[in-house]
């Protein structure tokens, strides 16, 4: 292999490795965490790269999570740790017995985001699902790793997986 061909090979390999690493990292977080079910409220916008999704606010059972101490604090993006057991909020990563399970995120424009506020669905079901879930109890199945990284596993409508709900309620 001559030098020019080797450089071309490496230059093309770098993006493939970066993408494989990203997929691997996401997969590890999804499959190595503790499973938690959280309730949500949903809406439906669309992503340019990945298609349609349901977006929602997760209910952590805590009040005023991003309450600003001063007006400037509403704009802060500092990390925040939401403890699920017992329910509490920490500004630094909880250690030891202070919290047995926590989710890491940050407040963006006054709303807590942990990277689990979006669930991708096929375009054909987007509007029907949005209508269907507006008056139903919805939850998300989330995988949470020890460092507080949360990854979505499933979106549930009245306890059933969204795909089962679609098959049972929507004609093909």
């Amino acid at each position: 292999m001559n030098r020019q061909r080797f450089y071309t090979f490496v230059a093309l390999l770098i993006p493939i490795l970066a993408l494989s690493g990203l997929a691997g990292w996401k997969h590890w977080h999804q499959s190595h965490g503790q499973e938690v079910v959280l309730s949500v409220q949903a809406l439906d916008p669309r992503d340019l790269l990945s298609g349609h999704y349901l977006t929602f606010q997760v209910d952590y059972g805590l009040e005023s999570m991003c309450r600003p101490i001063s007006s400037n604090d509403a704009l802060r993006n500092d990390a925040l740790y939401v403890c699920l057991d017992p329910k509490n909020i920490f500004e630094t990563m909880p250690q030891g017995e202070a919290c047995s399970l926590f989710i890491r995120g940050s407040c963006r424009r006054g709303v807590f985001e942990a990277g689990i506020e979006r669930f991708f669905i096929p375009q054909e079901y987007a509007s029907r699902l949005e209508r269907a879930i507006s008056n139903k109890i919805c939850t998300v199945l989330v995988s949470v790793t020890d460092d507080g990284t949360a990854t979505l596993q499933d979106f549930r409508i009245e306890g059933r997986s969204w795909s089962d709900y679609v098959h049972e309620n929507f004609a093909p």
């Binding site: 993408l19 494989s20 340019l48 790269l49 990945s50 506020e117 375009q123 979505l152």
Partner: protein
Amino acid sequence: MKRLQQHLQEWVREGFILSSQAESIAAYEDNRPAGSWMRTSFMALGATVIGLGIISLVAANWYLISSQIKLGGDLLLLLALASGVLWTGERQTVWLREIFLILFLLACMASIGLIGQIYHASGHLPEAMLFWCLATLSAVLLSKESYLPFLWTTLFLGSLLFYSWERMLFYPHHSDFWRWLGLILLLPSFCAIFSHLLTRLRGPLSLIVALKGWTLISAGMGVFTIDLILSSSEQPTDSGWLVFLPGFIFGGILWLGIWMDKGIRALRKKLLLISWALYMISFPLGSMFLTSEYAGAGFTIAIMGSFAGAVGLAGQRSIFTYLILLMGLRFLGVYVTAVGGLALTGVGLIFSGLLILGIIYLWGKNRQKIVAWVEGLES
């Protein structure tokens, strides 16, 4: 081709070349393939459309196919396109290699979308684009055309801008109005300094050209913004001069860099320094102190005029022509606003047109003297 025929006939008539030579040149040009820039443009367009099709297919969300198969198929597609780049590179088919490269990079973008879709990532578009830019930089540098580096630079600067905007990294306590002004003041000098550093480090020419292009585009956006603020009746109520600080630091470094550059001839350097200084002071003056709508036009015409002079002296005719055209349009805008009535506007325009024609006539008659005078100023 028609223009070449006219030139050849003229050169034969003037006795510069023989008619047999003119025929040989015409035959040679006739047999050449169509212009490569045209082929490159259509090639880039076709490959981009296919790439967008791939992204759209991924976005359609084939949820009945398992994640592993989708990711495996995506990896195979990337490997096939990368092999295409390697294979066409060996066979020296530059245009085909470029098509494979565009498809490979857009397939990388689709892969990010697919991963986001499978793992329900809530990241925002600028973050995905920044990841794409960083992951694909090495592959972009393989391009031998200008399209991909320009696309990459555009997406990189755009996603950087939107990322810092969304994350409130740039002056979070100021209003959107002041944050935009601060960013648009900063962007041209950031691009210019970055392109200069790449030139010094003998970096890839395609990226340097793309950054120079964005220096001009962003400066144009800045001039337009200030002109718009001054032309509108509404002035900002809050004060945010601190947002100009990064722009002034980078802009000051650029101004000193131009001043100390011994490779720029004297008159051109003066014009560049005047143009850049006017651009920088137009931001605080235009947003905080001046209220006259004519001040906006004044800044626009003065900045563009001095810059047009500098690029004209450097022999960059196309940029010079566009700047003159824009100045003319802005001048016309001022004239219509100032005079108001149609009759007076008509008289004024006729007078202005005659003035321009007179200047061109004098330029044609005394061109040698003027050029000698300019060269005298430059030495």
